[in-house]
């Protein structure tokens, strides 16, 4: 079914001065999915999201959300997008009730039940002032304010940042609740891979502003593999391996993580004549860490000066 993707970018680029924060991002997010946007701190995720919502003008390229150009989002389109920012910022002087009154005035489709439900879930008092709320409570309030207008597209920028485990779990539960409607799409960035694993259909990985992966969650996990080679003596030097991510050298062992393990990779490894060679599957978090960690060889924290990759 060729339905319009809810988010589409073309060569979306953003420079801050000389530094390129986002480089030629080409992304398409299909409708009805849960899409996780991953990357290290400072890899450009928040910048990309800001560009999607028209908060920031791209240096080059374009983005469209719900079919509408990001730099010219019409109010009707904005009404269908829920945006939760990293810092969960609200007006400190407002009480929970005042914040609800403020927001509900803008959205004709404001759902009191959803709002009340999320507020209760997080245990918020309606007369509490925003500035007196804890980080997690504020996040809950922001979430309630974002979900109550019943948006078609939910864009969450690191929503679980600084949340305690209970609040995080509440957040994930809210996201799953939303997937009940097939036309609701969730696009979120996160550092918490456990939650991502639970809830995401697809992931995209941004590495220093460049999109390096965009695939179903399971494909990512299964594409990254760790191979353990045992040797009788010290492990030899590693030859050039396509798709090499990291190589970890121990006393009699060589652990290699790489992408798209195939026949060529296996041959290259076998050429080192190991005693045993095992392929170990990786969990999502380990795969992610290998994928985005520093490339090349190392033994523990400090690079061993004798080896070369």
């Amino acid at each position: 079914m060729s339905e319009q993707p809810v988010i589409r970018t073309r060569e979306l680029t953003c420079y801050f001065g000389r530094k390129c924060a986002v480089q030629a991002l080409n992304l398409e997010v299909p409708r009805g999915c849960v899409f996780a946007f991953l990357g290290r701190n400072g890899s450009g995720k928040t910048t990309a999201i800001r560009m999607l919502l028209g908060m920031l003008a791209p240096t080059r390229g374009e983005a469209a959300v719900l079919g509408c150009d990001s730099q010219a989002l019409a109010p009707e389109t904005r009404a269908r997008i829920g945006y939760l920012t990293e810092e969960h910022q609200l007006y400190g002087w407002m009480s929970v009730r005042q914040a609800a009154d403020f927001q509900s005035a803008f959205y004709p489709g404001w759902n009191k039940r959803i709002f009340g439900g999320v507020i209760d879930h997080f245990g918020l008092q309606s007369e509490a002032r925003v500035k007196d709320l804890s980080r997690g409570e504020r996040a809950g309030l922001c979430l309630a304010l974002t979900l109550a207008p019943d948006p078609e597209l939910l864009i969450l920028d690191d929503p679980a940042l600084s949340l305690d485990p209970v609040a995080r779990r509440s957040l994930v539960e809210s996201m799953i609740y939303l997937t009940g409607r097939s036309d609701r799409t969730i696009f979120f960035s996160s550092h918490n891979l456990a939650d991502v694993e639970r809830v995401a259909d697809f992931i995209a990985v941004l590495d220093c502003g460049v999109l390096r992966a965009c695939c179903p969650l399971e494909s990512f996990r299964s594409s990254v593999q760790e191979v353990r080679l045992r040797f009788s003596g010290a492990p030899p030097l590693l030859p050039k391996i396509p798709g090499l991510l990291q190589a970890f050298r121990l006393e009699q062992e060589l652990r290699v993580t790489c992408v798209h393990y195939n026949g060529a990779t296996e041959q290259a490894l076998r050429s080192l004549s190991p005693e045993t060679m095992e392929i170990l599957p990786l969990g999502l978090e380990d795969a992610f860490i290998s994928y985005l960690g520093k490339r090349g060889e190392k033994s523990f924290i400090l690079a061993d000066p004798e080896v070369q990759s």
Binding site: V34, V172, I176, G263
Partner: protein, 137 residues
């Protein structure tokens, strides 16, 4: 129903596979019997705090294996192991799968001998896992 499914994130096993493995194990050990009802995709997902698509994939794998069956309007039930397809049908379904497997392997530069060795190894792994209860030719 005393079926308790425990999910570990960060494990090297995919979540959907954890579900299918645990259901299979439960059936094998008798904790789940034919006729027991499993929760719907939606409810199960909310219980486990998972994306319903993951649960749906687990259920469809289990259904393909012939362990469970979805009865419209009633729910998802464990069924006694049976042949899902007649032999002919089965062979017909197997052909494209074999083509896909061999085609992919060739594209990845595996030789016929590699493939046969890998296949034999995988088969023995499965047999080991399922304790000989699976029907196979």
């Amino acid at each position: 129903m005393n079926f308790n499914c425990v999910i570990n994130t960060g494990s090297s096993t995919a979540i959907y596979k954890q579900i299918t493995d645990q259901v299979r194990l439960a059936v094998a050990t008798g904790r789940l019997r034919a006729g027991d009802q499993l929760p719907s995709v939606r409810v199960f997902a909310e219980t486990l705090v998972l994306n319903p698509n993951t649960v749906a994939r687990a259920y469809s794998d289990l259904a393909r294996e012939g362990l469970i069956e979805s009865r419209p309007g009633r729910g998802v039930f464990i069924i006694p192991k049976r042949k899902v397809f007649a032999r002919e049908e089965g062979r017909r379904r197997l052909e494209p799968l074999l083509d896909a497997l061999i085609g992919e392997a060739m594209a990845m530069d595996f030789t016929a001998a590699d493939l046969q060795a890998a296949f034999a190894k995988k088969l023995s792994q499965w047999q080991h896992e399922n304790g000989g209860k699976k029907n196979h030719e």
